[in-house]
Amino acid sequence: MARPAVILVGADKGGVGKTTVARTLIDYFGAHQTPTRAFDTEAPRGTLKRFHPELTEVVDVTSVSDQMKIFDTLGSADAKVTVIDVRAGLLSSTLQALTDIGFLESAKKGQITFAVFHILGSSIASLQEIAETARVVGDANYFLVKNFINNTTFFEWDPATYNSYFKKIKGAEEITIPKLNEMAYEQVEVASVPFVSFIGNKGVKGEAANNSFVLRGYVRHWLGNVWGEFDRVKLVDLVSPKIESNVRQVAG
């Protein structure tokens, strides 16, 4: 039986684009034929659920019953990968809860693959959170994601400060999400479909859509770059070591 994988996508402040990153991850695993389910912690109405309604369930990650829903089903669910979009401000407490229920312990023993995508904001405040989460996470596969999708500039960052935090997490890897043209991003928002569907010119129910070829091209190019980053950190090998990670084709 394949080992289940849990990917936590979180940030300590809102508006840094964690749901966007979660969406690219779901698309990525979909393209690699890796069954995936997702949990959206933005109760009551999750953004992630809007884009991936079939795969996503909205949960309250601090409630015990919802924790059971997520973690007690890891072995039995059809999905190999579980993506959890953690609401802003809940990353540290979620990690704490995971420690309490012994989840991190099983991850350490290798029974579960656990990875954290920590989406960074543009201010130093969010860097201080790295130190805090690092303490809890320990051996998890830790990815620091610099999200430029909305053209966030990281000018406030002093490289020396950043590196000192970066080094606190053993084996942390950096991922860069490049900028996507605003209008292209907006149109995908309006369409409320996965990026892959937008590129393939499909609507919510898989029907033919009428998206601009230019915008689809921009999204395809951008998603290709994002997936290139996921390929670079060997994400597929991480969640399912047997599947080859050579799928780079975004759209047919």
């Binding site: 043209n181 605003e182 209008m183 070829f213 230019v214 091209g217």
Partner: protein, 240 residues
Amino acid sequence: MAFRSSITIVASPRPRVGKTLLARLLTDFHLSEGRLVAAFDLNAGERTLAQFLPDKTTTASIREISGQMALFDHLVAHEDLTKVIDLGHESFESFFSVAHQIDFVEEARRRSIAVAILFTITPDQTSIGAYRGLRDRFSRATLAPVHNEILGPAQHRDKYPLATGGPGVVRMPALAPGLRRYIETPPFSFADSGKVSTMPPDSQSELQRWLRRIYLEFRELDLRILLADLRHSIQFGSGT
């Protein structure tokens, strides 16, 4: 795969190398072949093509994304329309960088539209580098160097490597100086026999000779686009 129509981009990173004249000739050539033609003027300033061929030309700007959508979405739609683009030198880089990002050539091919780039060759390094850049980025487009003979002899021709099986250098013969005044006053279409008939008989036949030579080059180019595609589908056995 048989192409239903083509998009020809007349390009050079240099100003004043005869791009607009070439675009005018191409548009009129397609018209004389009985095709439906749309021309696009991407020059920032003068919009010369639009002045010469007002009925056929749409002016376009790709600085904003809305303009990019208006242009590129239109280019890949309307499969039966033959399109000619007069790409101003100041739009050269932005046009091709957008085209590359959005996979313009592939999308056009998916819709049975061939893409050709006519590149006016000049001896400067900028142009030589730009030509090579296009060759690398747009391997599925037909890239044809154009020698505009009015710019002098082309000793720099070997700096512009030709694609195997692709078109040779397209020669654009110089027009006799005395004829220029007739064709340089907009609006003017070479396909408009009424206008041409007001010229002196000698000039008329001189102009026809000149046009015949150029149209012959264009016909050759049409054939090359077809052959290059045939060769490609045989080579890869895909016949996409």
